[in-house]
Amino acid sequence: MEWLDKRSGYAFLLPAVLVILCLSLFPLVLSLYISLVRLQFVKSGIQLTFVGFDNYAKLLVGIDHIHFLGDQAPPSALTWIVFGLVAASQVYLFTRYLRNGRTTPAGVVGRGIVVVGLSALAYLAVTTLAPGGRPGTLMVTLIYVFVDITIQYLLGLGLAMLCIQHLPGQRFFRVVFLLPMMITPVGVAYMFRMLTDTIIGPLLPIWSALGLVNTSWVTNAWSSRAAVMIGDIWQWTPFMFVVLLAALESQSIEPLEAALVDGANQWQIFWEITLPEILPVSTTVILIRMIEAFKIVDLPNVLTNGGPGTATESLTLHAYTIWRALDIGGSAAVAYMLLITSTFFCMAFANLVRQRYVQG
């Protein structure tokens, strides 16, 4: 017993470490290996052929690059201008960091990676989103993540600001606003399939008023992407709302009172006092949502089946369709690209944005 008690430090930690080692780390390393082979199911089990970076090359330059990266329109003057602005702002921020005197080797390398990565993605964005181009699954996933999170945050913050007022029925609204978060994404997808139906859906009066009867949401690339995003926003705004509301409620009241006494208006109070106070929480909820949003799969799979074509396919869905076609190595390569992308954005956000507002 005493022996066991002395080692309680290990007893507490070890199960968790083992679970993560066995089911996250080993699979992750194995997955990297699988992405480098061609895996075939044969009678006696599994047959592996080492192919090096072929699976990745296929995605980046080979036959799958239109599916993954998208169809790039020939760059026009406008795309060069947009790209130039993004790249220039990156380089500006980077040089400002180099000059501020508190540079560390890790900081320089990290920021260098961010500059290169963001510029490359910006180039991809301007060429595939320009007329004539067609975004691939990588860009579609990024669009989902960034559009969804921006709208969810703004809506969630607005609703939280409203719910903190002394209004009748407060408690009712709080509970109702929470509900979508609990509903399975597959269910949400079906709900929005019904709602976006322009023939038998409940919004028929609106469609006929707009003259859109018999035009389907899911035959046009952008409107089906919009349908997926609306579903995601509907589902995850509650998460932002609930945490931001709790943050607003726990803000200290003295500065607010003092500001009121000094004659500040609501707008000034929001910008000068409330917003800075909830920024740490804001960056955290955005980070949490970012981590989860990159994994989006159920909504596009059920709502639009990834189509029309591959217009609404997210990276996870892309990996799944390749897996179903039994190209296991290719699927692992797509999954790894997703892992790299999401780690890149989450780490960049955590280290460059969130660090400024959160201590400890």
Partner: protein, 343 residues
């Protein structure tokens, strides 16, 4: 509501015009949230003809509600196909949530109360051995042999080379490592997990799903509970230690009860994730251990969407979690906030 809000601050008591605008905005969003739910609710009482002959909104007025779909799903042809996944979902999600909570909060507690100093060298040697084993297996060495050789090599190097490295990692590094596991997209690990369970003959069973969900959701538990345990005063534990309670007893009968609000919020949060999980279930199950999200999703594949049956399925699937969410609403905000503030 925190006590300070009992004091009415004029900032939070808008004038009549402000009240009206705020109420309108809130009611609009409430409608946005509730209308889809209302729509699947009434669709579940419709006959196919009521669905296809155009939108009907009000039961009894527009169409005659009918229990056909409910009967079909719950007592009719589909009974077996409904209850089996329902049972799977309940068993898998509750047991995986409880296990994740036990392992995760134990680890979170350990990370706030003990000091760990794993040697950087040891970790590096471990990773090196792991890579060697994988390389060996991929080159055709039998995996059992490779693992044994790898382990032996690891211990030999640990006793000799590792002692030369003085730098070590701390608690924060371990916590960071665990939490960042959540960034990992399920699709990046699901293939090896699939092969792993296939080798063990455990595909399409409850334990396979439970183990996978524990691993997937434990990082959330560690994240939220670590911050919660930091707010639990350490003095009580010291008293218990002086009275001769073991670490395990202290944890079980003092720390856990004190952290109930955090545990409840975390439980609900993880339960919802497990209850709604789609991707792992899609890969790892087929008929036996299929969970509800798959049953719902599969309604599409066979004969085109059967809205009325689907609505029933979605409703019976979301009712338990929604009931729990309404009952525990208070805890959710609080539990999530602690994690979010301290991060």
């Amino acid at each position: 509501m925190p006590p300070m809000f009992k004091r009415r601050l004029s900032l939070f008591s808008p004038g009549p015009v402000g009240t009206i605008f705020a109420m309108i905005a809130l009611i609009i969003w409430a409608l946005v949230v509730l209308f889809p739910l209302y729509w699947i609710f009434i669709t579940s009482f419709k006959l196919p003809i009521d669905v296809f002959s155009g939108p009907f909104y009000v039961p009894f007025l527009d169409f005659k509600p009918n229990l056909d779909a409910w009967k079909y799903i719950l007592v009719g042809d589909l009974q077996r196909d409904t209850f089996r996944p329902y049972l799977s979902t309940i068993v898998v999600s509750t047991s995986s949530t409880i296990l994740a909570l036990v392992f995760g909060s134990a680890a979170a507690y350990a990370l706030t109360r003990f000091t760990y100093r794993p040697k950087l060298g040891a970790v590096g040697i471990f990773i090196g051995c792991l890579l060697l084993v994988i390389a060996a297996v991929s080159l055709g060495v039998p995996w059992l042999l490779a693992v044994v050789v790898g382990l032996v090599l690891f211990f030999i190097l640990l006793q000799t080379v590792a002692r030369r490295f003085k730098r070590s990692l701390g608690n924060n590094d371990i916590a960071f490592w665990m939490i960042t596991q959540r960034i990992l997209p399920p699709v990046a690990v699901v293939i090896p997990i699939y092969i792993f369970f296939q080798r063990l003959g455990m595909l399409d069973t409850w334990p396979a799903l439970i183990i996978t969900y524990v691993a997937a959701n434990m990082p959330i538990v560690v994240w939220l509970m670590r911050d919660y345990f930091q707010t639990v005063p350490i003095e009580l534990e010291e008293c218990a230690a002086i009275d001769g309670a073991s670490r395990y007893r202290t944890f079980w009968s003092i720390v856990l009860p004190l952290s109930m609000p955090g545990l409840v919020a975390t439980f609900l949060f993880v339960l919802v994730f497990a209850w709604n999980e789609y991707l792992f279930a899609l890969f790892l199950t087929s008929a036996n251990a299929q969970t509800l999200p798959l049953t719902v999703a599969a309604q599409n594949a066979t004969r085109g969407p059967q809205w009325w049956y689907m609505s029933v399925l979605i409703l019976i699937m979301i009712l338990p979690v929604i009931g729990m969410a309404i009952a525990l609403e208070r805890y959710i905000a609080r539990g999530l906030l602690v994690g979010a503030v301290k991060g």
